[in-house]
Structures are given as structure tokens and as C-alpha cells.
Amino acid sequence: MSTSLDHAQALLPRETPVRLIDQNGAAFADDTYALPSAERLVAAYGALVNGRRLNDQCSALVRQGRMAVYPSSHGQEACQVAASLVLGENDWLFPTYRDTVAIVNRGVTPEEALVLLRGDWHSGYDPHRTRVAPQATPLATQLLHAVGLAHAATLRGEDTVVMALCGDGATSEGDFHEALNFAAVFMVPVVFFVQNNEFAISVPLAKQTHAPSLAHKAVGYGMPGQRVDGNDVAAVMAVLTEAVDRARAGGGPSLVEAHTYRMQAHTNADDDTRYRERDEVKAWVERDPLTRMRAYLSTAGLLSADDEEALAAEAETMASDLRDALNREVEVDPEDLFKYVYADRPAHLQRQWSQLQDELARSDAWASGADAETSGTHGSAQGNNGTKELAS
């Protein structure tokens, strides 16, 4: 417990979210946070264009039935891009199901990223290669993993920083509380980054919390909290960078809340007309993070029409590669069910796999026209009951 109480004031976030570039693309000075360099802003814009294209391509692939479900971060790309751009190579990212753009920006290929949502496997990439944890589904649970992983690095004297993402809804879970508390008590280099997009599926923020802001929760753990305009990529980068730098310097964790908006339904399976007005959604269109950045960069002479075209082309290539990839049927291997449950396959799983193999062999035999009597012990039964499905 920190003894100096006046410290509490320093932990509270601002009364209005930090903003460095307004909706019209005009930059203004801030006492604390400097505008990121032109180079970083241009890189960020490229990532925004790519991220938007990825979001929209994925939604299209769902409509076309190539993928079961996609939780889009359309409208939240500034947060997605900033969360990965502020990290160094050895840093880690702990994403949720909605953070596909962030992980792709960090080096996971779109195809690997979509393995989960295509239904091929539960996760499609090696977390150690890109230092990106598997996208988390159970809300807020990953925040604790982030704290543990960061602590392990600290124990070894490494200067790794971990960026842990979650949504506004997830802040209500007990694990959110426990993660922030552990991080603060052990002074662990984690930046908790909440994308407050106003909704947890259908539940608006007002039903999620009565707090002045989500960033105000930080003081209860003795860590600094800050609020930022989540559609201003410059501001998100500036605020996150400060938090990352502090963490790396041994200053401990912080909590950053980005104010943004979920422009589309929770996933394509959701019907958001049931719980929000179209006008509310429309009002956020003009706050689009891409428009704003484009305006700023164009005015500043940092983005030519040629640059824009090149970025669009690059994004289009990514999208078309992705379409191709998802049009290729992936071979799934039923043995995978048994392969990874334990490091060494125990006898009972080997027996269960043998049983399945036997079933598959019999149904293959049946499918290839062999005499039904030899293909299984229950004879005609196999012919009548979906063994074709097993043979696929």
C-alpha cells in the first residue's frame, strides 16, 4: 500500500479523453503527450487502411459462408493499430477475439489468425513466434496471463512489456480486478488497454458501470489511469507509448481506456437493431479514425494521392490473398483431437483414437463400395446412418 495519499490525485485520469487530432484532422498541442513523429503516423495510417480492409474482407467472407463468424473491429482500428505499433519486438500482446487486426499488425498472418473463426482449430499460430497470445474468448481471463508472463520476464531481468487488451464489458469480471491488483502489487510491466466501444454485445456501458470512467478504476489499484480518444490514432499511440515506456523503466502497470465505438453488430450473428438506434451508429461515422488521419496527413503534406493508391493496392493484395486462402479447403485431421491434450499421448487417448480410426476405416471401406458386411459389425446400419459424413 502506497503511503503518500496525495499520490491518488496523480493516478486519476483526465476529465476528458486525451486527443491530439480532432475530427477534422486538425492537430493541437498537449502539455503531456507529444504528437508521434510523422514517420510513425504515416506507418499508422497504412496500418489503419490495411486493418479496415481486413475487417471488411472478413465480414464479406462470413457473408459468403467461408467463415462462421467474425467479430469486427470496424471503427476501432485506431486502437488495434496503436496497440501493436507501440510495442517492441520482444514485447507481448494479449488479444481478445475482437483484436484480429491488432495481431495481424503484429505479424500473425491473416490466414493463421482466422483458423479459429474458420473452425479448423482453436488457435492458428505459435504464440512464441510473434509474441502474441492466443486470442482469448473467456472474458478478462487473459489479463492474468499477461501479468504472469510479464512477471516471468521481469524475474529473468528481461525488459519485456506486455500489452493486455480487453473490452468495456470485460472490466466487470472478477479477473479484471484480480489482474490489475496482481500487476500493481508485483509492479509488473503490463499496460491494460480497454477498448471501450460502448457495448458488450447488447449491453450499453451505463448498465456495465456507474463509475465516472473505466480509467478511474486504476486508482483502486494504485496505478495511473488515463483516458484517450480511441478514434484518434495519434493520441492512442502517444498515451500507450507513455505507458509502455513507464512499464519498461520499472514504473509498473497502468490502465488506459480508449473511447471508441463498435460500428457493426457484435458479430455477424448479432442483430444490433434490437438494442441501438441507427442514428447513434451514424453519429460515429464522422468520427471514423481513418478519415481523420487521412485529413491530417494530407493537410500536413505527408500523404499524396499516389501514397493513398499504393496503400489501397497493398490492402487489396492482402484481401485477395486472404480470399484465396479461405477458398482453399483446409485438410483437418481427426487425430489432432488426441495429439495435443497431453505432451505424451496417454494410453486411454490412444485407445480412443484407435476406436475412431477403426470407425473411419470401416466407413471408408463402405464409402469405396466394399461389401457392407465387411465394413462394420452392424452391417446395414452403416449404410443408413451418416457414415458418409465420417468419410468426408
Binding site: S172, S202, Q208, A269, L356, T377, A381, T387
Partner: protein, 339 residues
């Protein structure tokens, strides 16, 4: 056929309608809320949205925000809040959005929901219902298809039920809400959109199994989405000359031993079918108690057709994981018929 006749509540006008299980559950909630002001429905997205499966559709509009409402996103919170409401005259019905998202509430369920009545020598009872959309067969991604019934069924003090038809969905949910004890109400997601007749005047106590099909050679015991697999297998087996009795246990615990044992004693052979991983499961229990109590009647071991002992499969591998008709038929074939 020894189909159990549904006892009819004489006072109510019989109203038989064909509907989905989802609609039957929705109707049961609405009827229970209309009948008893103390019934409250809450959870994540159950208000304006009507639940991700629309089971609570229209309840907020009809009964108001105080009766059917969204909570903050915290399952232990939802469960503990329900405990307090139940202590103070309410009959809370909570929805856990998916099976695996009920785990954060596990301590509240095991240490309080299940035990508070016992702790207080009955001075406090827990008339609450925990609705859990559960199981696979819907192509859901990880954490959306767990069959978690064993965790609850192993916990003394809970009543754990699982309907297999729209009629049972309706009658059993009404009974669960009226129960003085906490009920874990497992809703097989795969069956949400399956249709059947529902007579809303039918009321039945929990704890009674249902013989769905008669047969004298082997009994197949199951619940939830496995009942249809058992019936399909029975039809095939019959075409091969084997009479299969199918029992839907409906209430997993406390378990209707009488019906189950009578069936197994009559047929001498039995199979238990359930989707959950088999190890230390409800299927294990059914096998154990059957062989303990019907040993001298058994012509063959009681076999299980269950999920493999692996985490639930991703969508594209689901078909390999789930028990199906062939697997049940294979098991029937292994019941020592040659002897």
C-alpha cells in the same frame, strides 16, 4: 410402448401447439413470470436483445425492466446476486450465456447455491434456476460447446435436469422454477430449433425418467441431444431384429433409479449415451449404479458411448467427436450377443 402419459392439469385449458424448444422455453418463462411476481429473469443480454438464443425474447417488453434485465458482465456476480435474491423471497432465473461461461460462477454454485439450504437447516432455501445453454452439435468455437453437467451433478444439493423435447422443455422449466431447491437447467443448444408439440397445461414433477421407446433386447439410456441419436439407432437396430428400449433420464440428479433399473432388468443389456467426455461423468455414474443394482440381470457389460476424453472439438472436427448413430450401433453389437 411404455411412454409415460403427461398428467394434465385439469384446471388449465389444454393448449397444444407445435413449437421449437427455444419457443417452449420462452413460453415457460413468460407463463412462470405471469403466474408468480417473485420470478425474475436476468443475466447477460437477456433484456433488449432477448438473449443470444432469444430464449428471453419479449420478456422485458412484457414484464418490465425490473423483472427481466441485463446485469454487468460477471457470472459470479450474477450467481451471488441470485443467491441474495433467493434468500429474500424471490425466485431468480439466471442465464449463463454459454456452458463454459458459467465456470466463473463455480464457487458461488458449489459453496452457496448447493449448500445454503443445508447450512441453515432449511431456514433458508434457494428456489433458483440456473439456465445453461450447453453442449455441441452447433459448430461453435471453443468454450461454446462444453458439456458441463458432471460438475453440477457431482455436487450434492443441486437438481440437474436436461430436456430433450419442447414439451419437456416447457414442463420441466415450469417445475424447475417452482422447485424449492436450486435447479441447474441444461438446455441442449443443438435442440433449440427442433420442433414438437407443447401442451402448456402439462405439469410434471422433476426426478422422473421417460421411457421414449419400448424394446426388450437392450436399453439405451441418454438425455438431451443424445436421445434422438438413441432413437435413430433404435430404429436401425429394430430393422436388424433387435428391440431397443430408449430411456430419457431427464433429471440427471436426483436420478430416477426405478425406471432405469426396471428397464435394464427387463432387457439384460444397456448402453449409456452422452456427449460429455466420459471420464468421471454422469454416464460413468449411470453405468456404475446400473451394474451395482442390476448385476444379476446383465448379459453383458453396460457400455458407454460418450465424447472422447479430450477438449471439445473445433467445428470442423466436431463430427468425429460427437456420439452418433453408428457408434451406438457399434456398442450394441459389442453386447455379447454371441453368447
Amino acid at each position: 410402448m411404455t411412454l409415460i402419459d403427461h398428467p394434465v392439469d385439469a384446471k388449465a385449458t389444454a393448449q397444444v401447439e407445435t413449437m421449437t424448444m427455444a419457443a417452449a422455453l420462452n413460453r415457460a418463462l413468460a407463463d412462470a413470470m405471469a403466474a408468480d411476481e417473485s420470478v425474475l429473469m436476468f443475466g447477460e443480454d437477456v433484456g433488449a436483445l432477448g438473449g443470444v438464443f432469444r430464449i428471453t425474447d419479449g420478456l422485458t417488453a412484457r414484464f418490465g425492466e425490473k423483472r427481466c434485465f441485463d446485469t454487468p458482465l460477471a457470472e459470479s456476480g450474477i450467481m451471488g446476486f441470485a443467491v441474495g435474491l433467493a434468500m429474500n423471497g424471490m425466485r431468480p432465473v439466471v442465464e449463463m450465456q454459454f456452458d463454459a461461461f458459467a465456470y466463473p460462477a463455480f464457487e458461488q454454485v458449489v459453496s452457496h447455491v448447493a449448500k445454503l439450504g443445508n447450512r441453515t437447516r432449511g431456514a433458508v432455501r434457494m428456489p433458483m434456476v440456473i439456465r445453461v445453454p450447453f453442449g455441441g452439435g452447433i459448430g461453435g468455437v471453443e468454450h461454446h460447446c462444453d458439456s458441463s453437467e458432471a460438475y453440477y451433478a457431482h455436487t450434492p444439493g443441486l437438481t440437474v435436469v436436461c430436456p430433450a423435447t419442447p414439451q419437456d422443455a416447457y414442463s420441466m422449466l415450469r417445475a424447475a422454477i417452482e422447485s424449492p431447491d436450486p435447479v441447474v437447467f441444461l438446455e441442449p443448444k443443438k435442440l433449440y430449433w427442433s420442433k414438437g408439440p407443447v401442451d402448456t397445461s402439462v405439469r410434471e414433477p422433476l426426478g422422473v425418467a421417460r421411457t421414449v421407446r419400448d424394446g426388450s433386447d437392450v436399453t439405451v439410456i441418454s438425455y438431451g441431444s443424445s436421445v434422438q441419436i438413441a432413437l435413430d439407432a433404435a430404429a436401425v437396430a429394430e430393422s436388424e431384429g433387435r428391440g431397443v428400449r430408449v430411456v430419457d433420464v431427464r433429471t440427471l440428479t436426483p436420478c430416477d433409479d426405478d425406471t432405469i433399473f426396471a428397464a435394464v432388468r427387463a432387457t439384460g443389456r444397456a448402453i449409456v449415451v452422452a456427449e460429455a467426455a466420459g471420464f468421471a461423468s454422469v454416464a460413468s455414474e449411470l453405468v456404475a449404479r446400473i451394474q451395482e443394482n442390476c448385476f444379476s440381470h446383465l448379459e453383458a457389460p453396460v457400455l458407454r458411448v460418450t465424447g472422447f476424453d479430450v477438449p471439445f472439438a473445433p467445428p470442423k472436427l466436431e463430427k468425429y467427436y460427437l456420439p452418433d448413430v453408428d457408434r451406438v450401433l457399434d456398442a450394441i453389437d459389442r453386447l455379447g450377443w454371441e453368447s
